[in-house]
C-alpha cells in the first residue's frame, strides 16, 4: 500500500488557528513586570550638524526614567555601530553609529533616547528633548549626489560614491552595439519604495544581570544574523550571551532582515537600567527608518541584429544607498541586479556599471525581490522598446530570444549559470489564458472607434536567482557570511519528530510546509511533526528567511537531515532483521528487506530500539537525531511570464488594472495553496510599485511621504483577482526540486504593468513613463504624447 502523498497537497496552515482568534503573539503584544518604554528622538533634518542636546524638560515629565545620547553610549564602551555585511571591493564604509553624534544624515536619524514607564510618557519626553541643529544642504537623487558641487555626506566617500562596480565585457558590448541593426534605449527611474510590513518593527529586551545575558524578542526575519551583528558590532556582548527570539512576525518583505540601531538601543537601555525595555516603532518612524527599496536611476540600451535577435545590452545605474550602508545594501544593486540582466534571453554581450551612492535619505536595502525586480524592469522595458523599434510583436521578440531549452545549463555573460529552464511554454500558456490576440484586436477596435477606455497589454518574462545562496560564490563576491541553512531532526522515542530550522518565518507558513516535507519522507502524519524556528536558543544557527530561500535551502537542509536519520534507522533495522544494511530500504514508513516485504520493521519499532539501546549495532550511539548544514551548489532560477491588462480613462488618466495573468515556474510545489498565496502577495506589491507607491523626497532629502496618507498602498478595491497557472521544471540540484516563490510576483509585475500602460498609450507617441503611473503623469502623457 502506498500512502497518500503529502508533498504537493494544500495542507491547511497550522499557523492559522492562533492568528484568526487573536491568540498569536507579536512582539508588541509581550509585556513584562517592571517594563519600561523607549522612544527615540529623531532628526527632522536630512543633513545637519548636531549641537547641544538638552534633556532638562524631558526629564521633568512624570514617568521619564532616563534620557541618553551618543555620549552615554560611547561612555559605556560598547562597539556601538551598525555594520554592513557585504563588502564589495573598495567599498567605502564610513561608520553608522547607533545614535548620531556630531552630524545627522537623514530624516529619522536617531539622536537621543527617552525611557519612561509608559508608552505615552516616553513619547511626551521625546517631544521635549531640545536638540540644536545647524542644517546643511542635503541631496536625495543618487545621480545628482555624484555631481560636482553636491553636498558631501562623508569625507571618506568623495562624490558620495560608496562603490563603483562593473560586470561583463565592455569591449565586446561596444562592438555589439557598433554592428547592430537596431538600438533601443530607455532612461528610467526605479522608484523608491517603503516596505510597509503592517506590523511595525519592535523589540522587547530583558537583561539578566546574574547571567550577564540579554534576551531580545524582536521583529526579525533572521534572528541568528541579528545576534551575530549585535554581538560583533553593536553591543559587544559575546554571542552566547545574546538570545534573540522572533515571535509571530507581521510581515517583513526584507525590512526585518536588516540590523538597525533601534533594537540594539532597546537592549542597551535594558542593560543600563536593569529593567525590561520595549521599543515599538510608530508608523511614521517605520516609514523613516525601515530600509527602503529600489531607488535607481538607470540608462540602458539594447542592440539587435536584422532578425530581431539581441546582440548586446548595456546598463548604467546610480543606486541610492541612503545615508549609511545597511546590512546587505551593497549586494542589492550589484550581485542581485547586474547578474540578472540577461533575463530569459541568450545575450552574447552585456555590460553593466553601477555606482552605489550615499544620499541624505533613509538607508536602502533588500526589499521583496531585491535587485531582481530592478533588473527585470530594465530587461523587460528594453524588450518592449526593441519591439517598438523593430516592429516585432512583444511576444514574438521574447520568444525569438529565449535561451532554448536544450541550452541548459546556460552560462550568461553576467556570471550566473542558469541550471534549468524552459521558457516558451510559460509564455504560451500566459498568452492563451489572457486571450492575447483577442485583446490586441479589441485594443485596435477601441483606438479606431475612440470609444471606451484605452486598452493596454503588457508582458513580463522574468527570471530570478533564488535560494540564496551558494556560500562559496557569495563569499567570493563580498558577503561576510555563508548563506547555507541548518536543520536538526529530533526523533522522539515514540516516533514523532521535532524539526529545528534556521529558516525563520514571518507569514510564509514554514511550520506547515516543513512538516509536510518530514511527513512525506518519514511516512508520518503532519500532526506528528513539530517545527521550531525563530529562537537562537533553540536553533543552533540559521541564516533566516529572505531571497526566496526557505524551501530551496532550509527545506533541503531538512531533507539531508532526514536522510541521516533514515540511514541510521536502516543500520538499526538491518541489525534487528539480521540483514545487510545495503539490503534494507525505507519505504512507506517501514524499514524492509528489499523484495521481502514481510521482513520489515515499522518506523516506531526502529526508533524505540534506538532509544532502548538494548541491542544496537556495535559502536553505535543510542538515540536518533541528526543535524545538517545544507550549502546549495547554485542559485535556483524560477521564471515565468506575467500578462497585465490595463484600461486607461481617456479623460482622467486613471489606470485600472483589469486583469492579471501569471504563469510561474517555481519547480516542484510542496503546498500549492501557500505557493499561490505568495504569488498573489508579490503581484500586489509589484502592481503597487507600478501604479501608486513612491517614497518621495524633496531635493534636499525631506521625506514627503512619511505616513500611509501620503504613501499610496495597494488596497482591495484597486486590484482584480489574479489568474494563475504554472509550469514545472524541477530544480536539478536540490533534493526537493524546488526553486522558491516568495519574490516572483514582485519581480515580474512592475514591468508587466508599465509595459501595459505604455502599450495603451503607444498610438499617442508615448514610449516610456516612469513609475508610479499616477493619473497626473498618465494624463500629461496623453496630452503631450511622444514628448515624454
Amino acid at each position: 500500500m502506498t500512502r497518500n502523498r503529502v508533498i504537493g497537497t494544500s495542507v491547511k496552515r497550522r499557523e492559522d488557528p492562533d492568528l484568526i482568534t487573536g491568540r498569536g503573539r507579536y512582539t508588541d503584544d509581550l509585556t513584562r513586570p517592571g517594563m519600561l518604554h523607549l522612544a527615540i528622538v529623531r532628526s527632522p533634518y536630512a543633513h545637519a550638524v548636531v549641537g547641544r542636546i538638552d534633556a532638562t524638560r524631558a526629564l521633568e515629565v512624570p514617568g521619564v526614567v532616563a534620557v541618553y545620547t551618543a555620549a552615554d553610549l560611547e561612555a559605556s564602551g560598547i562597539p556601538g555601530v551598525v555594520p554592513t555585511a557585504w563588502l564589495l571591493p573598495d567599498l567605502k564604509t564610513p561608520p553608522h553609529p547607533l545614535l548620531a553624534k556630531d552630524r545627522v544624515r537623514y530624516v529619522g536619524d536617531g539622536v537621543a533616547l527617552v525611557v519612561a514607564d509608559s508608552r505615552y510618557s516616553a513619547r511626551d519626553g521625546a517631544d521635549l528633548v531640545e536638540v540644536d541643529y545647524e542644517p546643511l544642504q542635503g541631496v536625495s537623487n543618487p545621480r545628482k549626489a555624484t555631481e560636482a558641487g553636491a553636498p558631501q555626506l562623508f569625507d571618506e566617500a568623495p562624490g558620495n560614491i560608496a562603490f563603483d562596480w562593473e560586470l561583463g565585457d565592455a569591449e565586446a558590448t561596444d562592438r555589439a552595439f557598433e554592428g547592430a541593426a537596431t538600438v533601443a534605449k530607455v532612461a528610467l527611474r526605479n522608484n523608491r519604495l517603503i516596505p510597509h510590513a503592517v506590523e511595525p518593527r519592535a523589540a522587547l529586551a530583558e537583561w539578566d544581570r546574574s547571567a550577564g545575558s540579554v534576551t531580545i524578542h524582536m521583529t526579525s526575519q533572521n534572528p541568528h544574523v541579528h545576534r551575530l551583528l549585535m554581538s560583533l558590532a553593536s553591543l559587544g556582548l559575546p554571542e552566547h550571551k545574546i538570545r534573540i527570539v522572533a515571535p509571530e512576525v507581521g510581515g517583513g518583505f526584507g525590512s526585518k532582515i536588516h540590523h538597525y540601531p533601534d533594537e540594539a538601543l532597546a537592549a542597551w537601555c535594558a542593560m543600563q537600567l536593569d529593567r525590561p525595555v520595549k521599543w515599538t516603532a510608530t508608523r511614521s518612524e517605520t516609514n523613516m527608518t525601515d530600509a527602503h527599496g529600489r531607488d535607481h536611476v538607470t540608462e540602458a540600451e539594447i542592440a539587435l541584429d536584422e532578425d530581431g535577435r539581441i546582440v548586446g545590452l548595456r546598463a548604467n545605474t546610480w543606486a541610492a544607498m541612503g545615508a549609511y550602508l545597511s546590512t546587505f545594501a551593497p549586494a542589492v544593486p550589484t550581485y542581485l541586479h547586474g547578474t540578472l540582466l540577461s533575463g530569459q534571453y541568450a545575450i552574447p554581450a552585456i555590460h553593466v556599471h553601477v555606482f552605489g551612492v550615499f544620499t541624505s535619505t533613509t538607508p536602502v536595502d533588500a526589499y521583496r525581490g531585491a535587485g531582481r525586480p530592478e533588473a527585470t524592469y530594465i530587461v523587460e522595458r528594453l524588450l518592449d522598446r526593441a519591439a517598438d523599434e523593430t516592429g516585432l510583436d512583444a511576444a514574438e521578440i521574447r520568444r525569438r530570444n529565449f535561451v532554448p531549452p536544450d541550452a541548459f545549463p546556460f552560462q550568461t555573460q553576467v556570471a550566473l549559470a542558469y541550471d534549468s529552464g524552459n521558457y516558451a511554454p510559460a509564455l504560451d500558456r500566459a498568452l492563451e489564458m489572457a486571450g492575447y490576440d483577442d485583446l490586441l484586436a479589441e485594443q485596435s477596435r477601441r483606438r479606431a472607434d475612440g470609444d471606451g477606455p484605452l486598452l493596454g497589454v503588457g508582458l513580463s518574462s522574468y527570471i530570478e536567482a533564488c535560494g540564496i545562496a551558494p556560500s562559496q560564490v557569495v563569499g567570493s563576491l563580498g558577503a561576510q557570511a555563508g548563506l547555507w541553512e541548518s536543520a536538526k531532526i529530533r526523533v522522539h522515542p515514540t516516533g514523532s519528530v521535532t524539526v529545528y530550522t534556521g529558516s525563520s518565518a514571518h507569514g510564509q507558513g514554514h511550520e506547515t510546509t516543513f512538516s509536510q516535507i518530514v511527513a512525506e519522507k518519514l511516512g508520518l502524519d503532519v500532526d506528528q511533526v513539530d517545527v521550531v524556528h525563530g529562537d537562537t536558543r533553540e536553533v543552533q544557527f540559521g541564516m533566516g528567511t529572505y531571497g526566496s530561500r526557505s524551501a530551496a535551502v532550509g527545506g533541503s537542509a531538512i531533507v539531508t537531515g532526514l536522510d541521516k536519520v533514515i540511514a541510521k534507522g536502516r543500520r538499526i533495522a538491518a541489525h534487528m532483521l539480521e540483514a545487510a544494511t545495503e539490503d534494507v530500504v525505507f519505504e512507506d514508513g517501514a524499514f524492509q528487506v528489499k523484495g521481502v516485504p514481510d521482513r520489515a520493521k515499522a518506523w516506531g519499532e526502529v526508533v524505540l530500539a534506538a532509544y532502548l539501546a538494548h541491542d544496537l549495532p556495535e559502536e553505535m550511539e543510542p538515540g536518533l537525531e541528526a543535524t545538517s548544514f545544507y550549502n546549495p551548489s547554485n542559485f535556483t532560477y524560477p521564471f515565468g511570464t506575467h500578462v497585465a491588462v490595463v484600461e486607461i480613462d481617456r479623460e482622467t488618466g486613471v489606470v485600472r488594472l483589469v486583469r492579471y495573468v501569471a504563469v510561474d515556474d517555481v519547480g516542484n510545489v510542496i503546498n500549492p495553496m501557500i505557493v499561490d498565496g505568495q504569488i498573489h502577495g508579490g503581484i500586489a506589491q509589484g502592481v503597487g510599485q507600478a501604479l501608486w507607491e513612491e517614497a518621495v523626497y524633496d531635493d534636499d532629502g525631506q521625506l514627503l511621504t512619511g505616513t500611509m496618507l501620503d504613501y499610496a498602498l495597494p488596497r482591495a478595491h484597486n486590484l482584480p483577482s489574479y489568474e494563475l497557472d504554472r509550469t514545472v521544471t524541477p530544480c536539478p540540484h536540490n533534493p526537493l526540486g524546488v526553486k522558491g516563490v516568495g519574490e516572483a510576483g514582485a519581480i515580474a509585475s512592475p514591468a508587466a504593468v508599465v509595459n501595459a500602460v505604455v502599450d495603451a498609450l503607444f498610438h499617442l507617441g508615448v514610449r516610456h513613463l516612469d513609475m508610479p503611473l499616477t493619473p497626473e503623469k498618465v494624463w500629461r502623457a496623453m496630452k503631450e504624447g511622444g514628448r515624454s
Partner: protein, 156 residues
Amino acid sequence: MSYHVQLEVNGRRHEREVEPRMLLVHFLREELGLTGTNVGCETSLCGACTVLVDGAAVKSCTQLAVQADGASITTIEGLATNGELHALQQAFWDLHGLQCGYCTPGMILAAADLLERNPDPDDGEIREALKGNVCRCTGYHNIVRAVRRAAEGGAA
C-alpha cells in the same frame, strides 16, 4: 487627570480609570490584555485595529477609550462562540486568507460589519468594504474569496 470608563468587551463588563487621551486600542491591548487587536499605524489608515463597537466596525486607534464609555465591543477574541469559529474565521483559514496574520483580526471584523449590512455581497462590494484595511501579504485575492465563502455559508 483620569476618567472612569465602563464598557462591555466580548460580553464581559470592565471598569477602569484611564487618561483621557488613551486610545481605545491601547485600552483594549494594555488595560485588558486583549492583544488580538493589532496596531499598524495609529492614524486610522491601516485598519489593523478594527473592532466592532455596538456592532459597527470602528478603527480603535481613532477612538479614545473614554468615547467608548458605555459601549459594547467585540474584538477578535470574542468572535468565536463556544469554541466554534465564526464563519469568517473558518473561511479565512480554509482559503488561506492570511499569511502573517497581522491584518487579519481587523480584516475579519471589517468583513463581519459588511456581512451584517449586506449578507450577499459580490466581489466588488467586498473589495469596497475592505478598502480601509491594508494587507501587505495576500494581495487580497484570498481575502475576497474567504469573505464570499463566509457569506455563502451564512456568516451572520
